[in-house]
Subunit: 272 residues, 2 copies
């Protein structure tokens, strides 16, 4: 496999573009092939079996596009499908959960960590598993926040109703004296500012995307797959449904000026 | 086709059970085979092409189960896939949109009707089309309410936050002096009590499920397919993902005591 091959990134929909943003910063020479499964989004309330099936189909597609390594940008798919795919695939693959757990374990001082995520990620118990491997003394307090994704997709970010919903979900965690909070779903960093207001200054918000981009860089280096050549790659975006809506939302996720619309090629992916 | 054959009902997920409830009342002898596409739910933000593809797969499955006629209980699929399926299938098929429009046209006195639904249903313009066919003088005011479905699924029904969100979505419609409001998504009748509080007594809430069950009865009679034999049918429920979660939620949708858990057979549907 050549280090000039692109890297594959996938997510259940648009949220994984928050991970793309970090990858672009930490790996500016790498060409990204992104797949968002917008025809079957969201994954957060679906079963392990179904999420593995969907993730396998997408990984097959990315490999057919010649990627040298894969990032699962979706917390839910990382939680439920990464181990299976790691055994099946011939290219290195990484998820966001383990890096997120590692970053949180480094951030906490009192060993009391909160985790917010989709219902499927919370129920999987995967964050506890990784946090306890790092340090068995860590106490974990978790909460599923199913309304955060639709609120972000509705664009109600800096909004009084959103603040009330953040309070509703977070108040019980905040009573537990946590000092770090994992934003365990790719949509949640878009609410970080409002979550920070509710959580207060004492609590560090952990975005797994940062640490994931750093670990992915190590993984490429270790496998002699890091692209050393200076280039300005044109990224490719694929979705399984609604390319136009995706293009519109992707702008707000990636931040303006990072990817101009003519650099984003979005095509419909035939369902297989 | 025998009148003893079951009727097929499908929805993107759990919401269509509000239609099942009306069918059970108006057609107590009919056996129902229900399919909820929980592996790909929700349909409300997806494209016409994708919704037709999914609806076709489900109709094929229901026909393989021997159904004599089909009800599309999902407003979004009724709006976007009914016409295509009607031409392709050999069994009669009905959706909820046309009956809903008819009921609203009967309910209004000032010819000013509001429609709330998913984004896909609203953008399809289908309610206007049917309402204007009934009476070209009717004025229609519409609003997509994407947060209502996740609020219902979160169980936040009689809730202060939900009331604020209802206000946010409905206030602009209420200024238009409407006297009828179509609940154009199968989840919305579960919010009817709270919507009524915000809308006030002057506005009649129209649940398309009532009228749909009545029209479906006519359709069966016209086609000599009505089951005249008195029986206590055991209904079958199929889902594409998460049968246990479906069984739990279905209770609150169908109302307790209507279908006991041992009467609900839920099986996983192999994705095709």
């Amino acid at each position: 496999m050549s280090s000039m091959a692109p890297i594959g990134v996938f997510d259940s929909g648009i949220g994984g573009t928050t991970v793309v943003k970090e990858l672009m910063k930490s790996l500016p020479n790498e060409k990204i092939v992104y797949f968002g499964d917008t025809a079957r989004v969201p994954y957060g309330n679906k079963s392990k079996e179904t999420i593995i099936m969907y993730s396998r189909q997408i990984a097959d597609f990315l490999i057919s596009q010649g990627v040298k390594a894969i990032v699962i940008a979706c917390n839910t798919a990382s939680a439920l499908a990464l181990e299976t795919l790691r055994h099946e695939l011939k290219v290195p693959i990484i998820g966001v959960v383990k890096p997120g757990a590692k970053a949180a374990a480094e951030a906490t001082e009192n060993n009391r960590i909160g985790v917010i995520a989709t219902r499927a990620t919370i129920n999987s118990g995967i964050y506890e598993e990784f946090l306890h491997k790092t340090d068995p003394k860590i106490k974990i307090f978790k909460k599923a926040c199913p309304l955060f994704v639709p609120l972000v997709e509705e664009g109600w970010i800096s909004d009084d109703i959103t603040r009330q919903i953040i309070h509703r979900y977070l108040d019980e965690l905040l009573e537990k004296d946590i000092d770090a909070l994992i934003l365990g779903c790719t949509h949640y960093p878009l609410l970080a500012e409002e979550i920070a207001k509710v959580a207060g200054k004492k609590i560090k918000l952990v975005n797994p995307a940062f640490e994931c981009a750093r670990e992915f860089r190590y993984m490429l280096e270790e496998n002699d797959l890091l692209c050393e050549e200076k280039q300005d790659p044109v990224h490719e975006f694929y979705v399984s449904d609604g390319p136009r809506a995706f293009a519109e939302l992707a702008g707000s996720f990636l931040g303006e000026g990072i990817v101009g619309p003519d650099e984003v090629k979005i095509r419909n992916f035939e369902q297989r």
